[in-house]
Amino acid sequence: MALGMVAMAVLPFVANDYLVGTGLTLLMWLALTQSWCVLSKMTGYVSLGHVVFYGLGAYLMVVSWQQLPFMLVVFGAGVIAAAFAALVGLPVLRVRGPYFVILTFGLAELVKFIIMAAESASGTASRILFGTPDLVVIYFCMFALALLATSLLTWVSRSRFGHGLRSLRENEEAAETLGVPVVRFKLIAFVLSAAIPGMVGAVMALRSTYFVVGGVFDPMISITVIAMAILGGGDSAKGPVLGVVFLFVLQELLWANAPLLYMIILGAILITFVLLLPNGLVGLADTRARWRAQRAAAGAKP
């Protein structure tokens, strides 16, 4: 993982713009998926609305473009996304299971249509940003965010806080009765999980320079994040890295070689994973390690 990190850090100095752009997209998915896991993998509250924070961040960037320093806006986007999560968190986190999934999806769509309405009321169908920073600057912003998201999930996964989240994922009533302040913990996880996609959205607005509301609030972004997290498996930071790289490489290969079959193959892979490998690539690696250890033990005493 450290090796991959170094490779990503030197990429802009050795590669052409196309590769750097590809690397940027990979880092974007990594940041989004790691941050999604902070809430959804740790607590089992599967959010289908992660894109709402991304969209809010992107929107904040385009409306404040050339009025404020962009780094400040990126930071502000994180704060706004976190504040939005804190605001809606208490009512939204009262429901569990499929209701939470549908509610988060609905919430993201609601915000999308509110902003669409606001944009069309002011007579803008789309916006174009001029004078955005250099690709390498954007790349390193995203690199920092991916690193931040990975560190955040690593910390949460190992901390007392994370143990509380895992406990409430397993059984919320039992966790609360054993002293876990479940409402507060869920809300903190939701807020932490929201800040990063807010900043990612702001940075990506600089990359695409062309802004339409439907694009930055596209539900496919939320769905892709979930697919990557499922493929990766586990609830440590290792899972998303595996899942993101796997799906991303697959995506790039298939787009180039078999664009028509892409969605079909992706669907088949997802079904295979859900049915046969519910613990994803991390689970597969664990099973193999255990199998090897068993074989080694068997070989040691014939």
């Binding site: 007392r160 143990h163 509380g164 895992r166 406990s167 397993e170 059984n171 009533e173 039992a174 966790a175 609360e176 009765t177 054993l178 002293g179 876990v180 302040p181 479940v182």
Partner: protein
């Protein structure tokens, strides 16, 4: 020293249904108090009210002279009260040790560092006979094992008062005998106070110094196992009209 737990005029209504009505009793520190009664007598409701899982409609509950009505379950746990659930609620995909760690880290003990928490948890596991299972996933335990796990989690919180809801139901006679020995041991080694709901009458008679009898939400009798065994009201409730 005053009572560890004091329940005064406790009542709970669900709409028109009275689950518990005007129940009062005290529990002295170190006591093992049994709670018996037919299904629907209000035993589990009593536990839910004490542990904060639901709010009473009337009355008050004092733990170490502190009113706990209105506090959340996690706050009550931090004060030193823990409960098991009649239908076990383990954290199935976590290991047995991780199950206990939650109690140790977040309960009354507040062992925030993982190393401290795990050390305390391993001691508890040894006392309840689950040490060999420490790294097994909780879902792989037998029912008897899961009941022990529930108790171990409560003890790991560092609670002073533990509410045990039918921890012997569904166990074989041999397992019941073991469980009684374990509970006696825990009570002695950790100075626990236990409130025990049980249908296994022999176990209750053997374990408890004092027994409460609930019937249709009312406290109808209170006394030593012998007194309860001879109580007219209890006999008529349990065996029909006593000629």
């Amino acid at each position: 020293m005053s009572a560890l737990l004091s329940v005064r005029g406790l009542g709970k209504r669900y709409g028109g249904l009275t689950a518990l009505n005007d129940v009062s009793f005290d529990v002295a520190p170190g006591q093992i108090l049994g709670v018996m009664g037919a299904n629907g007598a209000g035993k589990t409701t009593l536990f839910s009210l004490i542990a904060g899982n639901s709010r009473p409609s009337a009355g008050e509950i004092l733990f170490e002279d502190l009113p706990v009505v209105g506090l959340r379950p996690d706050q009550i746990c931090r004060l030193g009260v823990a409960r098991t659930f009649q239908i076990v609620k383990p954290f199935p995909s976590l290991t047995v040790l991780e199950n206990l760690r939650t109690g140790a880290m977040f309960g009354h003990a507040q062992l925030r560092r993982k190393a401290d928490a795990d050390l305390a948890c391993l001691r508890v596991l040894e006392e309840v006979g689950l040490l060999q299972m420490a790294n097994r996933r909780a879902s792989t335990l037998t029912l008897s094992g899961q009941k022990r796990l529930e108790i171990a989690r409560c003890v790991a919180t560092g609670a002073r008062l533990v509410l045990l809801d039918e921890v012997m139901a569904g166990l074989t006679p041999g397992e019941v005998a073991q469980m009684i020995a374990t509970l006696r041991h825990l009570q002695a080694s950790r100075g626990l106070t236990l409130l025990v709901i049980e249908h296994v009458m022999r176990a209750l008679m053997e374990l408890c110094g004092r027994i409460l009898v609930l019937h249709h939400g009312e406290l109808i009798a209170e006394g030593s196992p012998t007194q309860i065994g001879e109580n007219e009201k209890v006999l008529s409730v349990y065996f029909g009209a006593h000629a």
